[in-house]
């Protein structure tokens, strides 16, 4: 009789505890949902992109001018125009360098960071005068390697070469 009573009391206690926990869960469910969503967002959030490998582009260009120009003059003109149009910081990031210049055919290769290729093409078009010599800088082609750029320097658009 006493055993039955004890079992009865225990079962009632178990039921009340489970009901209580269920009620607790129901009242807290919204808060738990919000916390779970927050954890899910944290897990799925994209991390800030790491700066990738610095890739270069080699832009081959030809000069149409009244007189022959020197390498230093051309490089200075490119840097000055870049600074004037896009600013000092863009110039530092892009770092355009005239790495190869062939004075006999008035052609050269500019090395520039790959993200600034479009800017470099625009800048070449905006140069109209170098040291009071009227000129046009015509981009011929863009390459990913210096070797291929040098090959194209002598091959493409021979009609632009000075006669």
């Amino acid at each position: 009789m006493i055993q039955q009573l004890i079992l009865y009391v225990i079962s009632i206690a178990a039921i009340t505890i489970s009901l209580g926990s269920l009620l607790f869960l129901i009242t807290r469910i919204k808060k738990i949902e919000v916390r779970l969503q927050f954890i899910y967002k944290l897990l799925s959030m994209k991390r800030a992109k790491k700066p990738g490998r610095v890739r270069k582009r080699y832009i081959v260009f030809a000069i149409i001018s009244e007189h022959d120009l020197e390498k230093k003059e051309v490089e200075k003109a490119i840097r000055d125009t870049w600074r004037k149009v896009f600013g000092e910081l863009s110039l530092a990031r892009a770092d355009p360098q005239l790495i190869y210049f062939e004075p006999s055919i008035q052609r050269g290769i500019i090395r520039v960071r790959h993200t600034y290729k479009k800017d470099c093409l625009a800048i070449l078009g905006l140069i109209h005068e170098i040291n009071n010599v009227k000129c046009i800088l015509v981009p011929i082609t863009t390459s990913g390697t210096l070797k291929r750029a040098q090959k194209k320097l002598y091959m493409l658009r021979r009609d632009l070469q000075p006669k």
Partner: protein, 205 residues
């Protein structure tokens, strides 16, 4: 890369200029002050264009009537609200030029009118690049408005001498930077819209 580009607005009409256009690979150019109505040379076509400045509608009407006889393309630089509205709705006007003197008269209403009459807005690049930053900002605001309302925009070099002519790839790259658009879309602006304009006026390329 050979791009069949058309320069819709140039002021350079010497032989050296025409040679340079052909050398750089342009297909055609509309030149203000050209001696002949049309010049064909080694696959390159130069067409006479008139840029009309005006304040009054009556004055503009008379000038356009005269100029249309001798020129294929007519562009208007409006110098008043009246002139800008007239330029937007007149069928003989091909483009409305966005220059520092006309900037105050190209407002939201004008842009909606340009859209309604599907008239392109011409932007001379050399004028844009030579302006002080405050004017440049005003021009760029108008460009953004035109892009928002999807008004056709045409870029022109506005070259006065042979060395001011932009190489086609530089032209596209610069246009892409100015319009904050893809290079492909800018190429469409510089080839298709201009070709349509020329075909409309009877010049077949």
């Amino acid at each position: 890369m050979n791009i069949p580009l058309i320069d819709i607005g140039s002021l350079c009409h010497s032989d050296k200029c025409l040679e340079t256009y052909a050398l750089l690979g342009y297909r055609a150019a509309c030149i203000h002050g050209l001696k002949h109505k049309i010049i064909r040379k080694d696959g390159f076509i130069a067409v006479r264009k008139s840029i009309v400045h005006g304040e009054r509608q009556k004055e503009l009407k008379n000038i356009i009537k005269e100029e249309k006889k001798y020129s294929f393309i007519i562009s208007v630089t409006p110098l008043s609200i009246e002139a800008s509205r007239f330029a937007a709705r007149d069928g003989r006007v091909d483009t409305v030029v966005l220059a520092p003197e006309s900037i105050r008269y190209i407002d939201k209403t004008e842009i909606t009118m340009l859209k309604r009459f599907s008239k392109p807005l011409e932007i001379p690049i050399n004028i844009l690049m030579s302006q002080p930053p405050s004017i440049k900002a005003m021009i760029l605001r108008r460009i953004d408005l035109a892009l928002k309302y999807s008004v056709p925009i045409i870029l022109s070099s506005g070259a006065e001498e042979w060395n001011e002519i932009l190489p086609p790839i530089s032209f596209i790259a610069l246009g892409s930077i100015i319009l904050n658009n893809l290079m492909k879309e800018v190429m469409v602006m510089l080839t298709n819209y201009t070709r349509e304009l020329m075909a409309k006026n009877g010049v077949h390329i």
